[in-house]
């Protein structure tokens, strides 16, 4: 039974991997549920032993994967505070924001007793919640697009520029227009706490 501590690079990688997989599935699911793209491009696949909808469109998949690939090093070092999926209308004004607040407990060690299946279970719950979130949401106007924002702690972005990965897939500082929503209504959807990671999903929607 190996025990990994925070200092182990492996630990950070494991958590980052888990989170990035989860975020990928979550983003695909959000795109499906909110009808950002026509449902024809989605295909039912299996994740955490439940069916989820994933897109088959290669460019979309590539975009999402590149995005998460860049986010992964931030999560490894625990520098990513929030990952936000923003749904914007045609004029690039945010309509909805799905905020994933990610935090990792500082003094932490995982052992094989921390069953990953427990984490799976919790992530499954978050995914289920996304699937039914349109109960509280109105339909989006047509022609919506999405974007992914990452809020980092301190000044992690300065280091990011040096990373090769970022050079191939450049990130820019987000416009205020895209970031701020006027008078949003916040709806916490799901909190998931486990030994290795804590994820809170909050939905912010514009009040019409």
């Amino acid at each position: 039974m190996t025990t990994l501590t925070r200092q182990d690079l492996n630990f950070g990688q494991v958590v980052a991997d888990i989170l990035c997989e989860f975020l990928e599935v979550a983003i695909h699911l959000i795109l499906y549920v909110r009808e950002v793209y026509p449902s024809g491009i989605f295909q039912k696949r299996k994740k955490y032993n439940v069916p989820v909808q994933m897109s088959c469109h290669p460019e979309l998949n590539q975009y999402i994967q590149d995005t998460l690939h860049c986010v992964k090093p931030l999560i490894e070092k625990n520098e990513a505070e929030k990952v936000v999926v923003v749904i914007m209308d045609r004029e690039h004004r945010p309509v909805e924001r799905f905020v994933f607040e990610i935090s990792q407990p500082p003094l932490l060690s995982i052992s094989s007793e921390t069953l990953l299946s427990h984490v799976e279970q919790l992530l499954r719950a978050v995914i289920l919640k996304i699937s039914v979130c349109d109960a509280v949401l109105d339909n989006n106007p047509p022609g919506c697009t999405f974007t992914v924002l990452v809020y980092t702690r301190e000044s992690a972005t300065r280091n990011m520029e040096k990373v090769q990965v970022i050079k191939d897939f450049p990130w820019i500082v987000a416009d205020e227009q895209e970031v701020l929503m006027q008078e949003p209504r916040l709806i916490p959807l799901k909190t998931m706490t486990s030994d290795i990671v804590k994820v809170i999903l909050i939905l912010a929607k514009k009040i019409h």
């Binding site: 997989e21 499906y32 994740k47 069916p51 590539q62 990953l116 279970q121 699937s131």
Partner: protein
Amino acid sequence: MVTYKWLSLTLGVHVNTAKQMLYHYLEQRRKEKSGATLHATYLVSGKCLENGSMCHKVSVVREEKLEDIKSKLDMTVSIHVYSIQKSELKDSGPLYSTDYDAVKENLKNCNKYSAIRCAAAVPVSSGQLQRAQEKVLAAAPDTEGSKPGLNDHMAAASKISVKQPKGIMGMFSSKATPKSEEYSKEVKTEQKDDASPAEGAKTRPSSKADALSKFFGKPADKNAATDKPDKNIKEEVEGALTSLSAVSKTQSHSSPEHKQSIKEELLKNSSAAKGDSKDTGNKTKRLEQSDSEDEKGESQKTKRRRIKQPQPDSSDDEVIPDSPPVPEPQTRSLENEVKKEPVSHQEILEGKRRKRRRVLKSKTFLDDEGCIGRDHFILCTFKITAHLNHESVERVTEKGYESESYSESEDDFKASSYPSEDSVSLKQSLGKREEEKKLKEKGQKKAPAAANKATKQATIFGFFQKK
């Protein structure tokens, strides 16, 4: 979201009580007319005439479609509330997710509250269970050994396997209804059978067949294939095993594309039973190609990631020869067991795999251990991962020129990233693979550019030589 099954397991009540609870709640809330609107799904079952035969259809439908479905059925046997949720469901996935955890916790007695009973469904003794498990593991590399309970309770198994595919499929497409018909047929046939060890093997192929037919959309074939008496299944399983070992010997060059084990088992059954392939040529090819795959991994109980996408086949169909000596290939496959994971990663490069195999056949490359010939692919993968360090320095230069031309095609694959699910569980082999890639890239720069189409196939295997 609340399904009746979840409610019954959570509250510890009989399913019929749960269904009634849901119904009353729905009525009450709708009468109040305040608050959020509730959506409901219903489970409808009844008889209808289809393709000239009377069939029993069970489907889960949204409320709007309820009347529609009812009118299609000649005789409606039952309707009840399946689930209630606030949001309008686009997709049946969440219905399954809701139940998943509750069912998992009560796996052994998840049918405690169910209304379906079968006197013949008694838990098999552990000895019988073991035998059944061995057979199933030999026949299909299914790694769901964690659910032996499902095999024990036929009623439970058929109920659950029927329910899940129904839930997933019953909602939208018109294809769903013929399939649900065949599931209910299977429920009946299963219930008629006596409890025996073969049941364990049969229930699994049947429930797998359900999932499989979903993917292929050919209910007629699958239904016929699975509605067999026990004896037949037993024979098929054994016959399949010997034919598998045969195939692995002579067909090591065919593309062992990474299919679901379900597919393999089912195709095996159908082709073995029917003599010649009643299925389309495609499926037979898949069977043959997946057989060698099958043989390598299956009896070794290694968990491997199954890639769901059906893969394009071409050529390479060889008739499965008669059974050669069984023990020999099996021992060989024992050696290969450990190497299953890196091999499965290779399979992700779909079409390329086949080419790689062909290369080996034509080339007689010098193996340290002097293994030449067709089977060497199996042994070579073993060697490659085992002797990462010292082995093929010579090979780097030999195959150097080949790897150059490989890069063209390889680049395409680099762009398509690996399924992200790989990272956690197959981290190690992925790490190895990335090493391979890096080494290959370095090798390419040194190698002379001798891009040649004929050697392109060679390069793909050359990729694996260079460590």
